[in-house]
Amino acid sequence: MNLKDKLVSSYLAFDDHLEDDSPIHEIRKKAIHTFEEKGFPTKKEEDWKYTSLKSILNKDYSVFPKGDKEVKFKKVRNYFLYDIDSYKLVFIDGVYSSFLSETTHDGLDICLLSAALSKSKYKAVIENYYNKAAAKNSISSLNTAFAREGAYINIPKNKEVEKPIEIINFSTGNESALMVQPRNLIVVGENAHVQIIERHQSLTANPVFTNSVTEIFAEKRAYLDYYKIQNDKENASLIDNTTIHQEQDSNCKVHSFSLGGKLTRNNLNFIQNGEHCESTLKGVTILKDKQHVDHNTLVKHNAPNCESHQDYKGLYADSSTGVFNGKVIVEKQAQKINAFQQNNNILIDDNATVNAKPQLEIFADDVKCSHGCTIGQFDEDALFYLRSRGIGLKEAQALLMYAFANTVLESVKIPELKRRINKLIANKIGVNIGFDI
């Protein structure tokens, strides 16, 4: 049985256990119908032209893994940014781990989506926001049909969350192949501030296919700083679907560090609904072997006087492949928009490939939009310059890579995270010199 058929029949069994009168039930039914109709995206679709899912769809994934798996803190400690100075929402094979998590209901909600979906006190929020931002395409619909667990974060008006929130999805490898579909709902209230770090991490080399959906709503003057750490093992693949709705004067930033995994697809959508919004989308991608990362971004300017900044840097070694497909839509009423998009790539080896496709659709007449895209190799003159000062070839290349990625790294606001990412990148490029740029 292929994966699509397996999922559709699994849904039927799953559906039997659901409460018929839940408002979510209707949403699920509609969603599985969409998925059944459209199936997994193929390269024939324009948006998936450069990314084939074939190599990950041919595994026999467990869709409903057995729960009750515990993982020792000692074993996964390094994947957390902090031992105690963060809130944590930890999921193991898709199931919530209360042991590793640190949640709260004290003045703000940082808890489980399953709780929010089932308890009546959250009903109003769920009705207002749930599935309102997620795309209605087949892959997001697949998640919507099966979504059971994930992070539920609701920051009330004027609340400044004093420590970052870590959302971590571990997979144990107890299943020979596992598919998980985390679902996160995040509401950042008026003038509230929050920093979130998300990561998906397998603990063995067994194949894992994660299809994640995150819906974020940033109310007026809300501030969100979101970091995605994508440094998974060699058989882990991720489709990340994140949509952010922004209201007036809100400021939202997403940094994606794509340094590992087998195949990663980032569908990152920003929808600006009010004036004076600021959106920042930044990414550093460093790949080797046959790794593949596809950044598919959308910024939709629906209101005037807003800004968006995109800056994606990619370094590709061996036969790795990268895709940057960045779309900016400026609606007719969205005058005085500043929209910038920058995508620079360095091919370290001859077999590496990058496909870059900026798309600007501008219907307003008084806007400032720019996009720049480069694909190149190391600057030989710069390498010679550095080497002539006694810096070895490998270190000189590393220094240039750091410098290249620095426009993204410098805006990481959590110092400990920045330090970790610097270290990750140093490991990735195999050098041990203390750059602190």
Binding site: E380, A382, F384, S388, G390, A396, Y402, A403, T407, I433
Partner: protein, 250 residues
Amino acid sequence: MLQINELHAGVENKKILKGVNLEIKPGEIHAIMGPNGSGKSTLSSVISGNENFEVTKGSVKFLDENISELGPEERAHRGIFLSFQYPVEIPGVSVTNFIKTAINENRKAQGLEDMPASEMLKLIKSKADLLEIDRKFLSRSLNEGFSGGEKKRNEIFQMAMLDPKLAILDETDSGLDIDALKIVANGVNKLKNKDNAVIVITHYQRLLDYIVPDFVHVLIDGKIVKSGTKELAYELEAKGYDWIKEELVS
């Protein structure tokens, strides 16, 4: 210190250097002059190990070692420094971090530990003062948006930090006004001692008023065709290069 014998070098199929001979001893300053396209910059690139140029014949010896097969960093570790005619802009790397990395990579090659941070800061401060470099300048991205004068001053600052045995100044005077030229020349003179040597590559005699050479060589069409003392530079300034070419023909 440096011995160049019958050096032939070029790029792809183009011959640029066609048999250069040059010997430099510790404590000496040599000026190499010549018209555009005569091979001056190629010579400095080849000595410092730029792999874009291919050596087809001859040899370069430094401190009695044949360095023809060494990479640029290995030559730097042995004490060769090139002040670039066109220093490369490297956005995202500050002057300070760059020079710290360079110093420590050189120390690593010599089997030494990293220089302690306090010592590094002191060294940076004293060398920046020598070249009248503002501290703010040191935190800027390497050469990015620098004026011509700032770039050249930064080159000599790096030279001061690395304290090479042989410094090659490739057209260091181009793009400098007279005040900056004096600062740069003063820096070079202060760094000069009986154990190190300098090659000054220039079009004009002006720089040689401040960095006074022991020998002047004229490079034309890939060969050193005339050598002399500093008076030769004045003669070239007054009469141009044509008379030498005519001498050669006759």
